[in-house]
């Protein structure tokens, strides 16, 4: 029972990480109609910048503004230099241009920081473990990640439903042309949304540092899962992204934790482990295929 609860918390933690990335991606998708394969690179940029500053200054907390700033600046630069020219193009051009950015970002990071993974020290205050329930010990750092993710979700909800920018974002994802026709500076809105998405990706990258290694290619691993989240949730829907990321986080974590054990009951150990890991990696893609076959536009499409 405690093991199951622990896995659920792990799943929730992975889920909110996915949400931090998916929120930006789904807005960029929904409002600008751009498939941004470089979103994972922004995650990586945030992770490297934050980790580097944290290591230089010795303070985890100084890493946060560095990660946010670096990712947001990179995002705005990518938008202004490349993505802005692709809004009117078809998806194929967007996929390839952002794929090119992804290749270059990986190489640039390798050039600057080398191939060795970096590790972030956990902040003192959040290291160790706390006893949540009798017998259930859990690292407070992971609890903090969950809290940050939920706070961001709440903040985004407020931003989108309660502010003027949010109103424009909602309007933009429903009908881009109409928003432009009403005299809104849509280019500025696009840059702001892209920058915001980059900021969240950078945040996700940095806070994942102490849990996972900071290395080149970290972006691609999580990028594909994030796309699955966005497509399942319905392109452009923050609510869909939230529900889908938490669900996928929990499902993926539980499959990885329990499937090899279940398979070991019916077949030999190492083969069961390999097959179990393989099938649990397939799980989220299978889920996406099933969702798309039932609802071709995703679960929450068109709800803004």
């Amino acid at each position: 029972m405690t093991l199951l609860l622990e896995q659920l918390l792990n799943g929730l933690q992975f889920g909110v990480m996915l949400f931090l990335l998916a929120a930006g991606l789904t807005l960029i998708f929904g409002i600008m109609g751009v498939i941004n394969l470089a979103h994972g690179s922004l995650y990586m940029v945030g992770a490297y910048a934050g980790t580097w500053v944290a290591a230089q200054t010795g303070s985890f907390w100084l890493g946060i503004p560095a990660a946010l700033g670096a990712a947001a600046l990179t995002g705005v630069a990518i938008e202004a230099l490349v993505v802005r020219r692709l809004y009117a193009r078809d998806h194929l051009d967007q996929v390839l241009a952002t794929f090119a950015i992804l290749l270059m970002a990986n190489q640039l990071v390798t050039l600057i920081f080398g191939r060795q993974p970096l590790y972030t020290a956990m902040p003192e205050a959040l290291s160790g473990s706390v006893e949540l329930l009798p017998g259930l010990f859990y690292p407070p750092y992971r609890l903090a990640i969950i809290a940050v993710g939920l706070l961001v979700a709440l903040g985004l909800w407020a931003l989108i439903n309660r502010t003027r920018i949010g109103m424009l974002v909602r309007a933009g994802s429903t009908n881009r042309e109409m928003v432009r026709a009403l005299g809104v500076d849509i280019r500025l809105l696009y840059t702001v949304v892209f920058g915001l998405g980059a900021l969240l990706a950078g945040l996700a990258g940095f806070i994942s540092g102490p849990v996972m290694a900071v290395q080149v290619g970290m972006g691609e691993q999580i990028l594909l899962s994030t796309f699955v989240v966005v497509v399942i949730g319905g392109v452009g829907s923050i609510r869909g992204a939230f529900v889908a990321s938490l669900a996928l986080g929990v499902i993926d974590t539980c499959l990885r934790a329990y499937l090899p054990g279940l398979l070991r009951q019916v077949m030999a150990g190492p083969e069961a482990d390999a097959l179990g890991i393989g099938i649990s990696s397939m799980g989220i893609y299978l889920l996406m295929a099933i969702v798309l076959l039932v609802k071709p536009k995703g679960l929450f499409a068109g709800n803004g």
Partner: protein
């Protein structure tokens, strides 16, 4: 998928290109002799890879450039083709039966058609499901199916899992010494020539015209009484079969298959080749494959950070030269004296 408008592409090949294709074929036939005479024997194996990737990219281009369907999972069929050859060889050398039913084989006349058929069967299932969506969702669902197959093969320890499967000897063809790399090159060249001849006919056929029409204006085609789903599905299956053929040849050429053949970046590479060569042209993907592989070889020999250069070139082509390298060559050719039209 009406949002995909590839205005520059999709012409039917005329007569002058036929002559040019024959000339290219003659040059390619003389290539191994030329390569060893010039002291670049490695050129032959580079061109073999170009031919094989050219087949895969042209297959992708058939649904992308002519059909308007952006498949981001075509490496799956490439990998399936390779694994059919690999698995049949393993069963042949172990003298076991695949799934206890099918005996193995090392005869290319058996393994190639088998690879094409199996890839086609996978394409039929994946296509039948994927074509129910469109636009971004189509891109993502094809990617999802490719990822599923990728992880499936990673987890199959019986077929090498992560490490892949080594094929000790290239498949045999009666009367030919397939251990000679030059012979393998000529086999690939012959198959590529047949493939492109068939593709040219297919593109000009009524079927090719319907597919082209569906890309340009689906509503009009529906009004003419065409059922889009069926045409697209057949096109998707044919395209998957082409990629499977390329994968089977690649497995024979490298004598190795691994899940990397179906990694999503491989699907990206195939898309890059199509774009580099020019979407919706018959030989564009072959030129694109050549451009990509030559660029990769040159940059990789120059710096280990070759992907940086590749990224820059790719970005430039996407942003500036929409017809790809082929359009660039045509534009340069028009500048040459005596070639103005």
């Amino acid at each position: 998928m009406a949002d995909i408008d590839l205005t520059h592409g999709a012409q039917a090949p005329g007569r002058a290109p036929l002559l040019r294709a024959l000339a290219a074929l003659v040059v390619l036939a003389a290539l191994p002799t030329l390569a060893s005479a010039l002291g670049y024997p490695a050129l032959t194996s580079l061109v073999t890879r170009i031919l094989i990737y050219g087949i895969a990219a042209a297959s992708l281009n058939f649904i992308l450039g002519y059909g308007g369907l952006v498949s981001f999972g075509h490496a799956a069929f490439f990998g399936i083709g390779g694994y059919v050859v690999g698995i049949l060889y393993q069963n042949y050398s172990d003298e076991t039966l695949f799934l206890g039913l099918v005996p193995g084989s090392n005869q290319m006349l058996i393994t190639l058609p088998a690879a094409v058929l199996v890839a086609g069967a996978f394409a039929a299932v994946i296509g039948a499901l994927s074509l129910r969506t469109g636009g971004v969702q189509f891109i993502m669902i094809t990617l999802a199916f490719a990822q599923m197959l990728f992880f499936l093969f990673v987890s199959l320890k019986a077929y090498g899992g992560d490490d892949g499967l080594i094929i000790r000897r290239t498949n045999e063809l009666p009367g030919l010494n397939m251990r000679d790399k030059e012979v393998v090159y000529y086999v690939c060249l012959g198959i590529a020539a047949l493939f492109f001849a068939g593709l040219a006919r297919l593109i000009r056929s009524p079927f090719g015209n319907v597919l082209n029409g569906l890309r340009q204006n689906e509503r009009r085609m529906v009004a003419l009484g065409v059922a889009p789903y069926r045409y697209r599905l057949v096109a998707f299956v044919l395209s998957g079969m082409g990629a499977g053929l390329a994968g089977a040849l690649m497995a024979n050429f490298l004598r190795f298959v691994s899940p990397d053949m179906m990694h999503w970046t491989k699907s990206g590479e195939l898309l890059i080749m199509v774009i580099l060569g020019g979407v919706g042209t018959l030989f564009g993907p072959l030129i694109g494959a050549a451009a990509y592989l030559v660029l990769e070889t040159l940059l990789a020999s120059w710096t280990e950070y070759w992907q940086l250069g590749l990224g820059l070139v790719l970005l430039f082509v996407v942003m500036r030269a929409r017809g790809g390298v082929r359009a660039l060559i045509v534009a340069l050719g028009a500048l040459l004296p005596g070639r103005q039209k």
